[in-house]
Amino acid sequence: MAQLSPLERWVLTLLGTIGFFAIWQGVAASGLVSHNALPTPAEVLATAWQLSFEPFAGHTLLQHLAASLGRFAMGFGLAALVGVPLGLAMGRWRLLDDIVSPIFEMLRFVAPLAWVPFAALWFGTGIGGPVMVIFAGALPPCLINAYRGAKLVEPRIVEAAQVLGASGPRIMAEVLLPGSLPSIVAGLRVSAGLAWQSLIGAELIVASAGIGYVMVQAQSNLAPSIVMAGMLAVGVIGLALDVALRRTETLVKARWGQA
């Protein structure tokens, strides 16, 4: 197949999006599905617009989103702050690797949603519980990528730092961290995606404000257009996060690639 030009690819993207909404509109308008279960795209967009000004479940849509983004930032930030240094240290010191790896390998198979009951019991349904769930979802990629990155740093460079008298923390900060930055940034991107997904899961059950909470409230109010407006908001923000982090990743790789 011939290579597509950027313009042709944009056209395809646009066609796909239009097609999706057209099918949705067609099914909703046909009467095959109850209107109470599937509102039309126009209705969902109108609802999203309306929720931006009129409070639902105590707050406007933007306030809910702000609450969600705050939790996301805390859980994701915490995961990066713990996962990256721990991963680097495990990549460097075999002893630490041997101690932490088995526990980590077991815990990472506990899905973020499966942390919900534990998180609610230990940290409550306020700020702590949801942040804990997000942290659990976001930690593995941070840690694994930092670990792999540290393993790939040229051993001679680490030895050079050692013989010049660098301490352990200095080797981490000035050798392992810059040496594995491309890998770490790739891990952060995956981690942010997982954090955002875990957040919605956490909020479905534990929060008192936030986009997940909106969707649960709308479900019990039998308001499908609000549920779907929530899904739309989640999707759009997730996509925006991913695009931003992908840009950063490309930038870091381009700058580091030549070094």
Binding site: A160, Q162, V163, L164, G165, P178
Partner: protein
């Protein structure tokens, strides 16, 4: 200044068949203060392992290495290493690379700047301080690595085939510059190489190792001839044309040639 003492050094690795491979066997050797000793040997004679033990990056299975009378257990800034593949920090500029060891010691900024400037001058690299390693030629990169090691003013310099990755011309220039630098700032130096001419030209003594197992074969004294004929004041090609140089080189070469087998 400190000396290096290898006392009855042995290094063995277990092999898959349950036996063991002896890389070094009972090597005893002293590098005196401010002495430049080159170690030559066929591959598999354990010469790099010997250097790594002095650095504290590798450990003997028997015997011990002492630097300045103190047993070596870990790397330390009294012993600097120059690696074959330069091992510069790619994300640091020339200036930052050279100053790295001083920063680890907590030296004030003014002192760092002064030392960096001095070695840039000594190694003929003024004007490169803000470049990154990948923007420099191989020869320039190795100059930075040598400057980085000298900058911490180590008692002992350990060099592992530092010119092995350079082309022939650059190599000759670097050999001359190293002689200039070491005569100006003599340090106890252990220089690993497989190039016989380089070993004879640079050093006070040449240590020849045998392999399977790695053992001390002979130590050839170069210093008396070097002093008597004033090699240090001569150009490298002039030295290499001297009958005395050719004689020493051939002697070392014969010691090595005996060990080379048809399958090499």
């Amino acid at each position: 200044m400190k000396d290096i003492r290898f006392e009855g050094i042995g290094k063995a690795f277990p092999t898959r068949g349950g036996g063991q491979f002896v890389a070094l066997d009972d090597v005893t050797l002293t590098v005196a203060e401010r002495e430049f000793v080159a170690v030559v040997g066929p591959s598999g004679s354990g010469k790099t392992t010997l250097m790594r033990m002095a650095a504290g990056l590798d450990h003997p299975t028997s015997g011990q290495v002492a630097v300045g009378g103190k047993r070596v257990t870990a790397p330390g800034p009294d012993r600097a290493v120059v690696f074959q593949q330069f091992a510069l920090f790619p994300w640091k500029t020339v200036r930052e690379n050279i100053a790295f060891g001083l920063r680890c010691q907590g030296a004030p900024r003014a002192k760092q700047d002064e030392v960096v400037a001095r070695y840039l001058r000594l190694m003929n690299m003024e004007g490169t301080e803000d470049r990154y390693p990948h923007q420099l030629s191989g020869g320039m990169q190795q100059r930075v690595a040598i400057a980085r090691s000298y900058a911490i003013e180590p008692d002992v310099l350990l060099m592992d085939e530092p010119f092995g990755a350079l082309d022939a011309q650059t190599r000759t220039v670097m050999q001359e510059e190293l002689v200039r630098l070491t005569r100006r700032e003599p340090r106890t130096t252990l220089f690993i190489t497989h190039a016989v001419e380089e070993a004879v030209y640079l050093s006070d003594r040449v240590v020849v190792l045998a392999r399977d197992p790695g053992r001390l074969r002979e130590i050839v004294d170069i210093r008396p001839t070097r002093i008597a004929e004033g090699w240090d004041e001569m150009a490298i090609d002039a030295v290499m044309d001297l009958p005395s140089f050719t004689h020493l080189r051939t002697h070392v070469w014969r010691l090595l040639r005996d060990q080379i087998r048809p399958d090499d």
